[in-house]
């Protein structure tokens, strides 16, 4: 009796076959456009095939046909929850290729703008995760916080989402005069909403049971699969590009990197929650230390001449025409520069042949390798665990499919 009990194959006998479902590109949980082809055994996921590419807009092909300075509106649309972060990444890569250095004030403003982009990215991601788990009020508290932040960004960029604020060699415009005061007002409101959000969720047993020990990954596997950003820090690996390779003025600012211990969804959630605090802290320090002075590099080749110069002398007028029509002549060579975006390391690999437009403008998308590792994290767990895991990887269609 005992041995035939052992080789009794339940599935073969009870003729159950797995249920194949297309969790298709327009499913409410895939709030980016991505499709999961799931084979379910009851509710547990036996196999999952992730299919991306629904938001592929041929970013690289477009960049190869565009001038160096014309690419900025395209970089806004990469990680569209934090537009200005991608601008900063691209601008730093091009400046590294050219070999120019922007003045001190411009570096501080770029740090402020990119930290605000990170805040907006984290607000969006954490709000979406709360909504996917049913806590709609918590979702709206963070969307409201993001709303105030976007009004702030709009006051110096001019647009809420497509910021297009950074240029090669500097910025489009300086910060408005009453910017520090309005920032303080917004941060006070956001901190209150942050506490409400944290009180609603972080001690709540239902939320803890849903997020803890689901979608975990070990540190070695995370490194092997190219994880970076909050998901890698949640595994306990303190890798943050702002700390390991300080760019702009991050070495003058003191801030901490939150790291988790087990690498499951709850750690990723907490790491992002704490990074919001750190970003606010960084922006406050920057607003205190920001020096006065010019915001563009003084090298006439690499920045927009001012209207006074154009009207006053002939040379800069000719130079301006040549730059706009043929594009700025970036010297020959190749460069790779990485910055810390919301989801991880956002790298730009540029190859130039000295003409006005790039030979290759490659974006290293942080969420691309993490989505490829989704089957490892989710296979064998329940269908309901796929939702928080997919949220915490924070796949942004624009950045992953380019």
């Amino acid at each position: 009796m005992a041995n035939n009990q052992k080789n009794y194959d339940f599935h073969k006998e009870s003729h159950t076959e797995p249920l194949e479902i297309n969790m298709g590109p327009s499913h409410p949980a895939t709030h980016g456009t991505v499709k999961f082809y799931l084979t379910l055994d009851g509710e547990t996921i036996k196999d999952i095939d992730v299919e991306i590419g629904y938001l592929h807009r041929a970013f690289e092909k477009e960049c190869e046909l565009q001038h160096w300075s014309g690419i900025f509106p395209y970089t806004d649309r990469l990680d569209y929850t934090a537009g200005v972060l991608n601008n900063v990444g691209y601008a730093l890569a091009v400046e590294k290729l050219i070999g120019i250095e922007t003045p001190e004030r411009c570096k501080y403003i770029r740090v402020i703008a990119s930290e605000m982009g990170r805040l907006s990215g984290h607000y969006t991601n954490l709000a979406a995760c709360a909504m996917e788990l049913g806590a709609l009020t918590a979702f709206l508290y963070f969307v409201e916080a993001r709303e105030y932040l976007w009004d702030l960004i709009e006051s110096f960029c001019g647009a809420r989402l497509t910021h297009n604020y950074i240029r090669i060699g500097g910025l489009t415009s300086d910060l408005p005069d009453e910017f520090p005061e309005s920032t303080e007002v917004v941060f006070k409101k956001n901190e209150k909403l942050y506490d409400d959000f944290a009180k609603l969720l972080l001690k709540n047993r239902i939320f803890l049971d849903r997020m803890r020990d689901t979608g975990g990954i070990s540190a070695e596997l995370a490194k092997e699969w190219g994880f970076s950003g909050p998901c890698l820090r949640a595994c306990g690996v303190p890798f943050d590009v702002r700390k390991s390779e300080p760019y702009l003025v991050y070495d003058k600012l003191d801030f901490e990197i939150p790291i988790g211990s087990t690498g499951d969804n709850f750690d990723r959630f907490l790491v992002r929650m704490d990074e919001i605090k750190q970003s606010i802290r960084i922006i406050r320090q920057c607003l205190k230390q920001i020096p006065d002075g010019p915001i563009n590099v003084d090298d006439p080749m690499w920045r927009q001449p001012s209207k006074d110069d154009i009207n006053s002398d002939m040379e800069s007028m000719i130079f301006h025409f040549k730059n706009v029509i043929e594009g700025q002549k970036v010297p020959e060579g190749e460069v790779y520069h990485a910055i810390e975006a919301c989801n991880g390391e956002l790298g730009f690999y540029l190859v130039s042949n000295g003409s006005g437009s790039p030979v290759k403008c490659r974006v290293r998308p942080p969420s691309f390798p993490m989505t490829s590792a989704l089957p490892i994290m989710v296979k064998g767990s329940l269908l309901a665990d796929l939702i928080p895991t997919f949220d915490m990887i924070n796949l942004i269609g624009g950045e992953c499919d380019r």
Partner: protein
């Protein structure tokens, strides 16, 4: 740079910049490159190495990519445990950027960016490929993360990665003809319309 320098022609300014980088390559090439070059010094595996603009780069024979990568991954001093990025560059008509491209008659170049978390240094490994035999061994065995990057390189550039678990298109639909990021694929090219799949 006072104002009168604008008068000088633009190309010289670009040329001057490049000149400055090539000299500094001779004297203080970085620790990583020294370690790699003296490991593979016997076989002429390393074609070229430079650290222009601060990025350490080595160019290797495409046939030997596997054991170079294995060495880089499992060597005690280098420990490149993260494969940050894998991409392909199409140098059709731009061979003059890198000297070795023209004498190898190479058109494509598969570019790997590696990073080591504990040692905090980066390396760019490049493998030039000729147009007719555009294939290279897949490194999914060493880093699992390379799986999707290689599928994307196949999808957009048409580089075959031998030994890849399931090399199929990732960003474009299966019935897409051609590889869009190649230089000869013009922007205004249209695809044949396909009916609904099922």
């Amino acid at each position: 740079m006072e104002k009168q320098t604008i008068g000088k022609s633009l190309d010289s300014a670009a040329g001057m910049n490049n000149q400055k980088n090539i000299e500094n390559n001779k004297n203080n090439s970085s620790v990583v490159i020294n370690r790699v070059t003296d490991k593979f010094s016997d076989s002429k595996l390393i074609i070229y190495a430079h650290s222009l603009l601060g990025d350490d780069t080595i160019v290797v024979q495409p046939a030997e990519i596997i054991n170079v990568m294995q060495f880089l991954r499992y060597d005690k001093l280098l420990t490149f445990d993260m494969m940050i990025d894998l991409t392909v560059v199409d140098y059709l008509g731009n061979q003059q950027i890198h000297p070795y491209l023209s004498d190898l008659r190479a058109r494509f170049e598969v570019v790997y960016h590696l990073y080591s978390i504990d040692k905090n240094h980066r390396l760019r490994v490049k493998a030039p490929l000729m147009e007719e035999n555009a294939f290279i061994n897949s490194i999914t065995g060493i880093w699992g993360g390379a799986n999707w990057f290689e599928r994307e390189a196949w999808d957009l550039y048409g580089i075959v990665f031998q030994g890849h678990p399931n090399l199929r298109r990732i960003l474009l639909y299966e019935e897409f003809e051609g590889h869009p990021l190649r230089k000869e694929y013009s922007k205004t090219k249209r695809q044949p319309l396909i009916g609904p799949r099922n």
